[in-house]
Amino acid sequence: MASLLQAKSRRFPADKIFKIAATAAGVYILLIIGLMVFHLFSESYPIWEEEGLSFVTGSEWNAVEGREVFGAAPYILGTLVTAGLAMAIGVPLSIGIAMFISQAPKYLSGPLSMVVDLLAAIPSVIYGLWGLFVFRDIFLNWIEYPLHEAFGDSVWLFSSAPFGLDIFSASVILAIMIIPTISAVSREIMIAVPQMQKEAAYMLGATKWEMFKLSIFPYAKTGLIGAAILGLGRAVGETMAVTMLIGNATGPSAFPQTLFQPGQTMSSIIANEFIEASPASLHLPALIGIGIILLLVAIGINVVAHVLVSRMMKVKEGVINA
């Protein structure tokens, strides 16, 4: 549709200006992204120069002047562990929700998907507040203590004493927060499976579950994986709720060893220390360095998710803004 108008656009100088202005807005997006990557690299340059690769692999974290050591490994690992745990909890739940909503009658599916969407509308900081004052007590008493008492001696995962502000509770909050993303995208993908496929399965006498197994899952596999990865991208960047619940350990003790131990993620250490970091020392470059690792991880994850989801959604391109 645009080519028709493009051919005409040379007729009027005003249209030329209009086209340039619109293109400039498009360029602005690319420019901002480019500037962001450039600035983060150039401002974190001192830390790469000072620590080199040991910034990624080291675990010491000391901002005291004269004894400055910065190693981001525990936080990178903390991000991966919390996001991974959140995926392990959130993905099956989300797929289940998507299955239900994609099959439910209209009067149920509409309101229900809207209600699940409201989970995405709640700000991260309110998740954190609720997590601190409501969820933490319940989770500690009903899940963490029983797990610790049952398996504390035999399974290393549950060995340290539960506290409520730890990797486990942060991961569970994170899982709740990524449910709306994954379930909304998976639902769209399940609906995009051609009706004929579903009917063919029903014609063979399949039950609803067998229909899912026969026609939806094989067809939608790539898209569902993409949806899950999209959720992972969001889990990796999530800041406030995690910062409030993860317990904020620093240095080697932030290495995730058990589920019930305070940890730290890349985004939470930035949120916690950014304001106190002095621009003159290496502390600020170190935090910006963590920022660029976080950005690169997020971009990588999201590019993969986009490719997978859009391959599946070619038919309805643009419908899913994932």
Binding site: M114, L129, G237, N302, G318, N321
Partner: protein, 306 residues
């Protein structure tokens, strides 16, 4: 020839087979229902707790006064409400026009390689961790000017709005039938007149939805505000100085070890959630009534979070 005995046997086998499969089907339905309930419990718990704990804190003084001494339980969240409203307004002023222009670019001129590249990067931009955007605004504005300011915060939030507005604008412009544009060309109108007067006004409601969703989204953002507007306990004193915002205030209050701070935290949370839920539910209700097909609606679903 099947004997009646054989037939009974077949019937039994058939029954076994089908009842087993039906049972599995029922079990799966139960599991799936449990998933739905598991997602709804936290949502309702959050809403109930926020309103139960927050509503008693809402007094005229709480809503209008600046915060009192730390831990005293006096004062309120006046500057935070003011700051949130100002920052939403400022970032919309920056983000919405650029976002709409980008959307126009994507839909009217984006049918080539460069357009596809912008679209792709725009979609990836939408998923950038907001704290990284905060760092960027800090480096670009706060370090340059030497102090925390409303400008820096508004810039950071405008970057979060931009891709959402751009994408929703593009989608709603694409839904305007080509015949509208042809009618404009047939009248001999210039393209910018066609786009602004005909296409944009036909796509108005979709764009408005996108903008409001973006506003709801940024009004809850905390992370980028930590390093840009910093927080303050004063009322507005110029766009060049630090300012308070509701999410920031909630965060600060939640870290204080006083019961009174906790109550105030819930109070601030109820104000914030009323703002955000009103926008979200309002938009969805309006849009669901206006457009029953609602492909925008489902698109929006994936585009929001926090």
């Amino acid at each position: 020839m099947t004997t009646s005995q054989k037939r009974a046997e077949y019937r039994m086998l058939f029954k076994q087979n089908v009842s087993g499969r039906l049972l599995v089907d029922k079990i799966v339905l139960g599991v799936v229902l449990a998933c739905v309930i598991a997602a709804l419990v936290p949502l309702f718990s959050i809403l109930i707790e926020v309103f139960r704990n927050g509503l008693p804190a809402l007094t005229a003084e709480f809503l209008t006064q600046p915060p009192g001494a730390v831990g005293s339980g006096e004062g309120g969240i006046g500057p935070a409400i003011q700051g949130t409203l100002i920052i939403i307004g400022m970032s919309s002023l920056i983000g919405v026009p650029i976002g709409i222009m980008s959307g126009i670019f994507l839909s009217e001129f984006g049918n080539n390689r460069f357009g596809r590249m912008v679209r792709f990067f725009n979609d990836v931009f939408m998923e950038f961790p907001s704290i990284v955007i905060g760092i960027f605004a800090f480096l670009l504005i706060v370090l340059l000017l030497g102090h925390f300011s409303l400008w820096a915060g508004a810039f950071a939030l405008s970057l979060i709005m931009l891709p959402i507005v751009a994408r929703t604008t593009e989608e709603s412009l694409k839904m305007v039938p080509l015949t509208y544009r042809e009618a404009g060309l047939a009248l001999g109108l210039k393209q910018w007149v066609i786009t602004f007067r005909i296409v944009l006004s036909a796509a108005k409601s979709g764009m408005l939805t996108g903008i409001l969703i973006a506003v709801a989204r940024i009004s809850g953002e905390t992370a980028p505000l930590i390093m840009t507007v910093l927080g303050s306990s004063q009322f507005f004193s110029g766009v060049d100085s630090p300012m308070d915002a509701l999410p920031l205030r909630i965060w600060r209050l939640s870290l204080l070890p006083y019961d009174s701070a906790r109550e105030q935290g819930w109070g601030a949370a109820v104000v914030l959630i009323i703002i955000i839920m009103a926008i979200n539910i309002g938009v969805r209700y309006y849009f669901a009534r206006k457009n029953k097909k609602g492909s925008m609606f489902s698109m929006m679903r994936a585009g929001i979070r926090k």
